[in-house]
Amino acid sequence: MYQRDASVPTISRIGPFRAFVATFGALIGSGFRRYATYRQATIAGTFTNIVFGFLRCYVLLAVAAEAVGRRPAGYDAEQLALYVWVGQGLLSVIGIWGWTELADRIRSGDIAADLLRPIAPVTGYLAADLGRALYGMLTRFGPPLLAGALFFPLHTPARWQTVPLFAVSVILAVVICFGCRYVVNATAYWLHDARGPIMLWTLGSGVLGGLYFPLRLLPEEFVVALWVLTPLPSLLQTPLDVIAERDGPALQAGLVGLQLLWAVAILALAALVQRRAEKRLVVQGG
């Protein structure tokens, strides 16, 4: 029979569900606190997000002003402005770039300590990343959106389901992005140095994720293939299309459904990669 000793909650991979939830919650909290300590960096990053918001917004509005029917790729000017500013707010919530922690720990051998923990590495890092995203949502999402609303007319969502759907879409995007970064970082198990894959990821995720321009400006067949065959458009393009109400309600919900499939697939892939890696891992001594 399962017994608790004194008042110390037992943390165990095979332990009861409640203990798992408590551990997962504690890890989210520690991820949150870790990023909350860099307050100046938060302010500096927000400033930069806002400057880039102005740049991207003006360029896309100029495109809209001269495009046929004033609706390039099916967005009107207010939808494009919302697309840009919500995108600038989400950038650090979803956290596309700059995560090399796993690769660094693999290279230094510190990863061995992670394997001794009673929680699987993918789960542990996911919890910490959700904490990071939560902090990002509370601090980095609002200011760019506010700046955008002050200087540009933004589209206001008209359907009741848009905002809850957007919330789900953002959470799924965070999970998918974490899974992708995990897999990209995990190549260090085989390559010892993940700089090449991380660079390819940085290039691909920004352009094919929908940050630099809405992917809908590309030929349609290409975008559909990208959406179905890669997780990249699920990172930014989907949440932004959902909040801008670019598509009808059915397609809007369908895109979030596609994100759900990608979230499951990418986490499964990360777990598989981790198991394979553990089998062949040789920890460097020292």
């Binding site: 860099y38 003006y58 495109v63 495009a67 790729a73 200087f151 140095d193 290039l203 352009v207 321009f213």
Partner: protein, 266 residues
């Protein structure tokens, strides 16, 4: 003479370390071109949706993005890594640089010369070449001089912006990404006709900070087009002057910063 030998030694050590892991170096070499390729690709994608942006055709826009990319890539190759100054300040590595009997800035640049960014310059200049061939430029001696001077002036200008944003670290170690708003943000700003931007934002970036003279005004002068925003034709020839001004400001701020520097003692 002795100084020169010291610089050559620093530079060649850098080159050897960059090329010692050949596969990794090749990946980085091509990955770095990727970033500049995507800048140009973005311009092409936007023009798929519309025949003109800000009153400029695709050919004219490619001339602007070509001038900007060539200048930026050259500045990023030579002084771009000065943005690592904040790491040096935090780690105390800067102390080792300051005790040597050589000026600090060239040392810092040669300590970390990003050879992997070299292909970017080649790509930027190629785009510029294609743009020059695609536009019907009425060549005069003035314009020949301008096409040679503009990318160099743009590189000096961007280089000054790099040094200025890095200097922030002397006063504010945690300056984080603020510098990127003006370095990479400046590159994005100069990649499009200035007529695209509106209001105070345009006045601030294009005229108060001088980014309008990096690529937009020289491109107008090369094309012989009147500025829709009303600046006279000779404004394009101001770009070397603006660059020299920016370099002078950057030099003053850098020197003040070095004098202001207090070691962390670590």
């Amino acid at each position: 003479m002795g100084e020169l030998r010291a610089y050559v030694a620093l530079g060649s050590a850098q080159l050897r370390s960059a090329t010692s892991y050949r596969a990794s170096f090749l990946v980085e070499l091509f990955g770095n071109v990727g970033a500049t390729v995507f800048d140009v690709l973005t311009v092409l994608v936007l023009f798929r949706a519309t025949p003109a942006v800000g009153g400029f055709s695709l050919r004219e826009a490619v001339l602007i993005v070509g001038l900007s990319s060539a200048g930026f890539a050259l500045a990023d190759l030579t002084v771009g890594n000065v943005d690592r100054l904040k790491t040096y300040v935090r780690a105390g590595t800067l102390d080792a640089v300051l005790v040597r009997p050589l000026p600090a800035l060239p040392q810092l640049l040669l300590m970390d010369l990003p050879v992997r960014k070299a292909l970017r310059v080649v790509f930027g200049v190629t785009v510029l070449g294609v743009a020059v061939a695609a536009n019907h430029i009425d060549w005069t001696p003035g314009r020949v001089l301008l096409i040679v001077l503009t990318p160099i002036a743009a590189a000096v200008f961007f280089g000054s912006i790099f040094v200025l944003s890095a200097s922030l670290a002397f006063w504010w170690v945690d300056s984080g990404e603020i510098g990127s708003a003006f370095t990479y943000g400046g590159r994005d700003f100069t990649s499009y006709p200035v007529s695209v931007y509106g209001g105070w934002f345009r006045n601030l970036f294009a005229y108060a900070l001088g980014f309008g003279f990096v690529a937009y005004q020289p491109a107008l002068a090369l094309l012989g087009r009147a500025d829709p925003l009303g600046l006279p034709a000779w404004a394009g020839f101001l770009s070397p002057l603006v660059a020299v001004g920016a370099a002078a400001i950057a030099a003053v701020v850098w020197r003040t910063g070095i004098r202001h520097y207090r070691s962390t003692g670590s």
